[in-house]
């Protein structure tokens, strides 16, 4: 299908005249060199009210230049898609309103471009994470069905190799539902923090239990529920479709809570937004550790996190004091020393940012991390100097807002 025969003809003419006069305003996707530098996939979605699909662009330089989805990029089907890279492959998952759909698997070809290698059928899932050589996904029904479905996906042949049902009403044990916010491999187990939700009554995400944290501990690969770890110093860990846990180099687990539980639309958590810890090999919260981020930040709640290195986190904070909705601000936190520093150099108003749960762009030395920031003026990739907590504007992304930046590795 052609947009316009005349346009195509014109484009063909231009091309035949030679490259000298085809100087575009936006530079085309840079021709990649042989795989030495890290290669990133940028997902960008148009801003609009219909026909909103992601486009995937690839680049190896996030620090400068311009890249655009206008006439470029691989279109992804479905309004919401989510990405994950593991074992050198790039997975594009559909979020399709409870319907099953296709997961597309890509790899980088020798020119560093995405090349589709297969697709397979998957459920719409709310949790996806890497465990050993596999991907674990969990479909978590917010109402109706009483069981969450866990799927183990083999990354070699892109096939489901195991499935397990978990009754989340029984798991919650309080008349509500245990809604997994995310899952994280910890040693040879999988930790899945959850929020307790009513799952009904025009207030699906409301809860009568706003001041507790829970983590379900599963064995792997048989996904047997071993125990539930509970704590009452803050609220649930993570957030809907967000990763609340990180494992540091020592094997200790840190988890944050936004303290954002609601009931009938009003926030009801009385405990502060904070980090809690589970020591390596333990399956209890470390009662001696509590990092009250809300207090340190002057009343701000944590929204999301990306773990950097050596106890340092990039935090996506709610911009307004005491708010758990609205614009975000960035901060660097050190969970070892319990220090908190606002990141400088970011735009004054951030409309949205690239996803935190699949942000694997931390440089190998742990000194830099990248984030896509969308503003009223447009979208840019910022590089954040971790030590100085300073953001620097880099690659401009035209045509839409950045939804994800994923390094393929």
């Amino acid at each position: 299908m052609l947009k316009s025969p005349k346009l195509i003809l014109f484009a063909a003419l231009l091309a035949s005249v030679g490259m000298s006069c085809s100087e575009n305003k936006t530079k085309p996707e840079p021709e990649p060199e042989p795989q030495v530098k890290p290669r990133y996939v940028i997902a960008s979605a148009p801003v609009g009210s219909q026909g909103v699909a992601d486009y995937l662009l690839t680049t190896d330089d996030l620090t400068q230049g311009t890249i655009s989805t206008i006439g470029q990029g691989i279109e992804q089907d479905g309004s919401y898609r989510y990405y994950l890279s593991h074992k050198g492959k790039f997975f594009s998952l559909l979020y399709g309103q409870g319907n099953p759909g296709a997961v597309t698997t890509y790899r980088l070809d020798d020119r560093g471009k995405l090349e589709k290698i297969s697709d397979f059928q998957s459920e719409t899932v709310q949790v996806f994470t890497v465990v050993n050589d596999e991907i674990l996904t969990i479909k978590v029904p917010r109402s109706g069905n009483e069981s969450a479905s866990c799927f183990r996906i083999n990354t070699e042949n892109s096939q489901i190799v195991g499935e397990k049902q978990v009754n989340i009403v029984k798991l919650a044990g309080n008349g509500e539902r245990a809604h997994f916010t995310w899952a994280k491999q910890v040693g040879n187990k999988v930790f899945a923090p959850y929020m307790s939700i009513k799952g009904c009554c025009s207030d699906v995400f409301g809860t009568a239990y706003p001041d507790s944290s829970w983590i379900a501990v599963f064995s792997y690969p048989d996904l047997t529920l071993e125990k539930v770890i509970k704590d009452n110093r803050t609220s649930y860990i993570g957030a809907y479709f967000n990763n609340g846990l990180a494992v540091d180099e020592k094997g200790d687990v840190y988890g944050f809570s936004p303290a954002g539980a609601t009931n009938s639309g009003a926030r009801t958590s009385t405990k502060p937004s904070a980090f809690v810890r589970i020591k390596k090999d333990a399956t209890e919260f470390d009662k001696s550790y509590f990092f009250n981020v809300e207090e340190k930040s002057g009343g701000h709640h944590i929204s999301n996190q990306t773990y950097i290195k050596d106890g340092k986190f990039l935090l996506y904070m709610y911009g307004n004091k005491n708010a758990t909705t609205g614009a975000r601000k960035l901060a660097i936190a050190d969970v070892y020393n319990q220090t908190f520093t606002w990141v400088t150099g970011t735009p004054a108003e951030i409309s949205s940012s690239s996803a935190s749960y699949n942000n694997n762009t931390v440089s190998d030395d742990g000194k830099t991390v990248y984030i896509g920031l969308n503003t009223a003026e447009g979208s840019w990739v910022y590089s954040i100097d971790v030590a100085g907590a300073k953001a620097t504007k880099g690659l401009k992304v035209e045509g839409g807002q950045i939804t994800a930046i994923v390094r393929v590795k």
Binding site: M1, Q159, G265
Partner: protein, 776 residues
């Protein structure tokens, strides 16, 4: 009134015919300001006896025709013989050619951009209304699948609720799923009028970009039209339309229809392994969970031609439907148990009186109330694949969203239309449409939900005032103003104290008041060339789902504003002939739509549900045209083509200070170039048998390919491929149309057709239809 009754003993007798010479049965013939009146008989005859001598005014009225009045002078004992010819009235249509789609008659001088389908000509086909409409320029009906599947109607780029549907001028807004375009057989309609862009005042209601009015056969005569068809995919359809009108003016009408299909047509699809998710490519499989059936009865009883009413009918529409759901939005999502069902229980009242109190004052009042319910049944905890294999899970679950949610919208409607023909040149019209809505729903699986689901109530009123001026035979002009009013009441639960478990209800109320207006004019440049121009500033008030949500994936937004559009139309209509046998017609339209604040879905604040918002501005510059030719009574052929240039006119997206990269981009996932071509031959008196006819027809549908998402973005893109669908039919009729038998083949070349991305439509299918029609 007690004056000399029979002393003079005069009579008037004669025959009532149409100007085309057709005998009119049941026309009301009476003397003005007297109690004398009769109906024309089965042979069109009438006799008025026992009349006094002197001057009288004889008036003849018949639905669908212009009222005729004659001043007569009777001498004592005179037996006056008087034959009368009635002209089809303003909304009546004339055939352009022997057969096929009719256009608005030259004489009716409707200034609107309107196309009419002469449905009666299609009564031997197995089309339902949606397929008949799909052959009108400017119209595209997109289907998700086979019989009874969800359809998306678009008219000049306006879709869904932006286009309003009427049946005999009564809005069909909330008839529920049991009485809809995709299940109403063509035989129910006499004709279907498609108003593009500007909707005449007498249709009332709030349409953003046009209206479709289904006109049923409501002649006051006795008739029976019964048909049955069966065909591929175990499809069975029956239609019975009958009516009887006695000499005393008692009338009874019964319409009943039934559709049944397994829709088990073959599709080519990637089938997922039920356990591993691995796809088996390009498998040819049958659909297996797509059964659809509906049964509907419409009964009306009443009187015609009485002093107090030309027509007064009390009726009820009863119906039900059940539809299995085979797929989600993409064909790889496959279901095996989930279904929905609904019913309609709708009492109605129809009243018509011409010349109420004063000559020329016609009053119409219609009312109905739908008590019907809709239900979604998804309670089987399985996952299917296209090989019909499934995994059965333990516990309470579903295929998509566990639900037995059942709701009724309790929708009431009253419309009133007052038309006053002041004289030949001036007509004034007042129209009012009043809607009520009170949704009540519950889910037996989740009884506790009910208390949170407080009543959602709204009322809507659209008042229109119009004026029509016809200074001469050539020129006609009309202007109208519409006043839109909507009141919504909505209760939302919230937490007043912040303490858990504390629930209170916030009652929100809001009101819109908007004024729309329009003008339409037509002018005969030559007797066979009519020019038309019209303009409307239209509004579409938010629907109840959009305001209140649907409790599943859509959150309510009580703040929604009405959508608005400036609609401009310019058109011409030319008919001509050369020689005695060659006739042709040619018409074309240029349209421009400037629509603002389209109601579209976006994600809500915590990204868990969709919420409707006034988001997009869209313009459409469109062209459509139709050319038709016929040769005597032997052959007819026509073609139409529509091009629409729908562009995103949202310069700044909300929250952005830079111009949207999609500003002026073509609206995606919307057909922009499409058309139909048809041809038919008619052979009369087959094998020297009088009253027989054999016709052979062919129709080609063309839809240009279009992108699923924004055209300017990406270089590796998804699209909806070009459609070319060939349909053919053979009809044999005996006894001047009393017995009919027809054979149809749809999608002759067995092409893979898509209206929506990935959702494959049926392949080649055959249908046989037998029909019996008799009228007196």
């Amino acid at each position: 009134m007690l004056q000399a009754q029979s002393r003079d003993n005069c009579t008037i007798s004669g025959i009532v015919k149409s100007t085309e010479g057709e005998l009119l049965v049941g026309a009301s013939v009476y003397l003005v300001n007297s109690s004398k009146g009769v109906f024309s008989s089965e042979s069109g005859r009438f006799t008025l006896g026992n009349l006094s001598a002197g001057s009288h005014t004889l008036r003849v009225t018949f639905l669908g025709f212009r009222t005729v009045e004659k001043k007569i002078e009777l001498k004592a004992g005179e037996n006056l013989r008087l034959d009368l010819a009635l002209e089809p009235d303003a909304h009546q249509l004339e055939d352009v050619s022997v057969i096929g789609r009719s256009e608005v008659r030259e004489a009716n001088r409707q200034s609107f951009n309107v196309t009419a389908i002469d449905a009666a000509r299609l009564h031997n086909s197995t089309l339902d209304l949606s397929h008949a409409l799909d052959r009108v320029s400017g119209v595209r009906v997109r289907e998700n699948g086979g019989l009874g599947s969800r359809i998306n109607f678009s008219l000049n780029g306006f879709t869904g609720r932006q286009v309003k549907f009427f049946i005999d001028g009564i809005p069909m807004d909330n008839f529920g799923s049991s009485f809809q375009l995709n299940n109403i057989p063509i035989n129910l309609a006499e004709r279907v009028e498609v108003y593009k862009g500007v909707v005449p005042i007498w249709l009332g209601s709030d349409a953003l970009g046009g209206a479709v009015n289904i006109v049923t056969a409501n002649n006051q005569r006795s008739y029976l039209d019964a048909s049955y068809s069966f065909g591929s995919f175990n499809t069975h359809r029956t239609t019975i339309n009958s009516g009887i009108t006695t000499k005393s003016g008692f009338t009874f009408q019964l319409n009943a229809f039934q559709n049944y299909s397994d829709n088990n047509y073959r599709v080519t699809v990637d089938v997922a392994d039920i356990n591993t998710g691995e796809y088996f490519r390009d498998q040819r499989v049958r659909r297996f969970h797509d059964n659809y059936h509906n049964e509907t009865v419409i009964a009306n009883v009443g009187v015609v031609g009485k002093k107090f009413a030309d027509r007064l009918l009390v009726g009820v529409t009863l119906g039900q439907n059940r539809a299995e759901i085979q797929t989600g939005a993409r064909m790889v999502s496959v279901f095996g148990q989930w279904y929905r069902k609904g019913n309609i229980v709708m009492p109605s009242l129809k009243y018509l009186k011409r010349d109420l109190f004063v000559k020329g004052l016609d009053v119409t009042v219609n009312a109905n109330y739908n008590l019907g319910k809709e239900q979604n049944v998804d309670t089987v905890y399985r996952r299917y694949n296209w090989f019909q294999q499934y995994k059965q899970y333990v516990g309470l679950g579903s295929e998509r969203e566990r639900s037995l949610y059942r709701f009724g919208n309790n929708n009431g409607l009253i419309t009133a239309n007052v038309n006053y023909r002041i004289n030949d040149k001036n007509t004034a019209t007042i129209n009012n449409v009043f809607n009520t809505f009170n949704r009540k729903g519950s889910d037996e699986l989740f009884p506790q939900e009910e208390k949170y689901d407080l009543p959602k109530i709204n009322t809507k009123n659209v008042l229109g005032i119009g004026y029509k001026y016809d200074p001469n035979e050539k020129w006609s002009a009309s202007a109208f103003v519409k006043y839109f009013h909507q009141w919504n009441k909505y209760s939302q639960s919230y937490n007043p104290s912040g303490n858990w478990g504390d629930v209170a209800y916030m009652v929100q109320e809001n009101t819109f008041n908007e004024v729309g207006y329009g003008v339409a004019s037509s002018y005969y440049l030559f007797p066979n060339l009519q020019l038309k121009a019209s303009f409307e500033k239209s509004y579409r008030l938010p629907e109840t789902d959009e305001l209140f949500g649907d409790l599943i994936n859509l959150e309510g937004n009580i703040e929604l504003d009405p959508e608005t559009s400036y609609n401009y139309n310019l058109g011409f209509d030319h008919k001509g002939k050369f020689g005695s046998k060659h006739r042709y017609s040619f018409n074309g339209n240029v349209i421009y739509r400037d629509a603002r604040g389209f109601i579209r879905a976006r994600l809500n604040n915590n990204q868990t549900k969709q919420v409707m918002d006034n988001l997009a501005d869209v313009t459409n510059f469109g062209l459509d045209g139709e050319l038709r030719y016929s040769y005597g009574q032997l052959f007819t052929a026509g073609t139409n083509l529509t091009y629409q240039n729908l562009r995103n006119n949202t310069r700044y997206e909300e929250g952005y200070t830079i111009v949207s990269p999609l500003y002026r981009d073509r609206i995606p996932n919307m057909p922009f170039l499409f058309g139909n071509t048809d041809a038919s031959f008619f052979f009369k008196n087959i094998a020297n048998t009088k009253g027989t006819m054999l016709s052979v027809g062919y129709n080609l549908l063309y839809v240009h390919a279009y992108y699923l998402y924004w055209p300017s973005l990406g270089n590796d893109k998804l699209d909806i491929p070009r459609q070319l669908s060939h349909d053919a039919n053979v009809v044999y009729t005996l006894k001047d149309g009393r017995y009919n038998i027809s054979l149809e083949c749809k999608n002759l070349l067995d092409s893979r057709l898509y209206d929506n991305f990935s959702l494959q439509k049926p392949g080649r299918a055959f249908y046989l239809k037998v029909r019996y029609f008799v009228s007196k």
